[in-house]
């Protein structure tokens, strides 16, 4: 059974992101002009305004740099409470807001390594695959 989730943002650009997720690939937009990665999805590079953007495959590795656990229901029963969220610094640099999979508060610690995983979900637009994060391996040879 797919997990029910609040609605995604859909439309140009956004749809590409979710199509890559359906193929179990986390891809973000890298600007060919200035080289920076933008996230969330943009129409033009958030650093230089260029439209020359390409979907680059992320390693899926990262570490937790912040977290918050909702004890109040903001989604009218769609999600169980408490509800854990984590902010992951991807190995490539951008910060990615997501959920932990296979661990939960109070076992979320700042700095813990994580690895992307995809879970089957659905919203009012239909089924989709959502990138979340499992415990990862400590980086070899320093970070």
């Amino acid at each position: 059974m797919p997990e029910r989730r609040p609605d995604r943002a859909l439309g140009p650009g956004h749809n590409d992101f979710w199509q890559w997720c359906a193929a179990s690939e986390l891809r973000l937009q890298r600007c060919a002009t200035c080289g920076e990665l933008s996230w969330p999805v943009v129409a033009t590079c958030e650093f230089c305004g260029s439209t020359d953007l390409a979907w680059e495959h992320m390693s899926g590795r990262g570490r937790v740099i912040a977290w918050t656990t909702f004890e109040r229901d903001y989604y009218a029963g769609t999600l169980p409470i408490p509800w854990d969220t984590i902010l992951v610094e991807l190995a490539e640099g951008p910060l990615f807001l997501s959920n932990p999979k296979g661990f939960s508060w109070p076992d979320i610690t700042i700095g813990m390594p994580v690895q992307v995983a995809f879970v089957d979900c659905e919203d009012s637009a239909g089924p989709f695959r959502l990138p979340v994060f499992e415990r990862g391996q400590e980086a070899q040879g320093g970070d």
């Binding site: 656990t69 909702f70 903001y74 989604y75």
Partner: protein
């Protein structure tokens, strides 16, 4: 409806307008009435709140309706257009504008209008009926809107929403960075509550202990209920005029000396969580200080945007009053008390006073600089700073006591 654009900070606009009247609705009494819902209770409207605040500000200023030749209205969740409001207030302004909503932007717009001679004496009205309309900050109904920061809608599929969640992310990172416990943050909630306890207007006046704080329920861990501001109904009216006109009026004028503006342009989550908007506060704070021709060390009291406890600390640190990581200890040591190095949110702020989207802070600064703050008076207050820092932008204002 087209909205006024905030004028860039410029020394030529410094002290070209002064606040000479303030009016606020009864935050405490209205909150109690809304809670108890006695038979016959009628929820306030934007119109009724606006009229009440205007009448008080006008009386406070010593002016008459005929003196008001400008009107500026600021409604976050809707309200009548300016000329409808003018009719309601029974004034006939030649200059009437819809002027943003939360504080910072609207006041510089009016100062510039007065400096340019578009109006001489402007009534500025802010009103909100968040509580009465059941406004919830966050959730699926907070949909994508033009110009809204991406974080407010984008993360719904991960179940992440609400302003409070922004502050919670910041604090979990802050805790790890500076080795801070939840109970340390209680000091901020308790300090602001102490101020509220001495302020009859404040919604929450019952003294708070650290035990009370820790026992308050979590909203978004690691933040408790007492870390988050009070959504409420109310209105604030400011009467603003030229420094020359202000000299003839009963109260010491409070001149608008400086303002600034800086926004996050990219890496929003990083700037918000790891830097807690310090770059924006440094930039906008520098603009405001330069415009006013004063130094940060000259600021005698501070009214920050305490949407949450940790965010008040973000501002004390971000503008440079203390070093990053030193804000909570500064509070614990009494630095934010009325007799501290930087008296902060002496009217109870948004946490315990009332969340008026930055406007009540300005009213409180006016009382302080007039030396009418009673038991909460900061000795010989002459220069103050307010701050409206949202999750993606910083807007400080600097005020100076004028002479009359």
């Amino acid at each position: 409806m087209p909205q006024a654009i905030m004028p860039p900070p410029s020394p030529g606009l410094s002290r070209k307008a002064a606040i000479v009247g303030i009016g606020e609705t009864d935050y405490h009494t209205d909150y109690q009435a809304a809670r108890s819902r006695a038979p016959g209770y009628e929820a306030p409207s934007v119109e009724s709140l606006s009229l009440a605040a205007f009448e008080r500000a006008l009386a406070d200023s010593g002016l008459s309706r005929a003196d008001i030749d400008g009107l500026s209205v600021s409604f976050t969740f809707g309200g009548p257009p300016p000329m409808e409001m003018a009719a309601l207030l029974e004034i006939e302004p030649g200059f009437a504008i819809a002027n943003g909503n939360i504080m910072a932007g609207p006041l510089p717009v009016v100062c510039a209008a007065i400096a340019e001679g578009k109006a001489r004496t402007v009534a500025m009205i802010f009103a909100v009926a968040s509580r009465s309309i059941g406004k919830q900050f966050g959730g699926a109904s907070d949909a994508m809107a033009e110009g809204m920061p991406a974080s407010y809608y984008y993360f719904h599929p991960w179940g992440w929403s609400s302003q409070a969640a922004h502050w919670a992310l910041m604090f979990s990172h802050y805790q790890a960075t500076y080795n801070v416990r939840e109970e340390d943050l209680a000091a901020v909630a308790m300090q602001v509550r102490r101020h509220a306890s001495a302020t009859p207007q404040a919604v929450m006046q019952t003294p708070m202990t650290s035990t009370d704080y820790m026992a308050s329920r979590y909203i978004v861990r690691p933040l408790h209920l007492f870390d988050i501001c009070l959504v409420n109904d109310g209105a604030v009216c400011l009467i603003v005029t030229t420094p020359e006109r202000a000299r003839d009026l009963p109260h010491a004028p409070v001149e608008v000396a400086g303002w600034g503006e800086a926004k996050i342009r990219n890496r929003k989550l990083d700037t918000m969580v790891r830097q807690r908007l310090r770059p924006q506060m440094q930039e906008a704070g520098g603009q405001a200080l330069d415009m006013a021709g004063v130094a940060l060390a000259d600021i005698q009291l501070f009214e920050g945007y305490d949407a949450s406890t940790i965010h008040l600390i973000n501002q004390i640190e971000g503008f440079g009053f203390v070093e990053p990581g030193a804000g909570i200890d500064f509070c614990k040591d009494g630095g934010m008390a009325v007799d501290g190095r930087l008296p902060t949110n002496t009217g109870g702020g948004n946490l315990s006073g009332s969340y008026m989207q930055g406007w009540s802070q300005v009213a409180n600064v006016v009382r302080q600089l007039r030396h009418e703050a009673g038991a909460q008076q900061v000795a010989d207050a002459r220069l103050a700073m307010t701050s409206l820092v949202q999750t993606d932008q910083a807007h400080p204002l600097i005020f100076a006591r004028g002479e009359n």
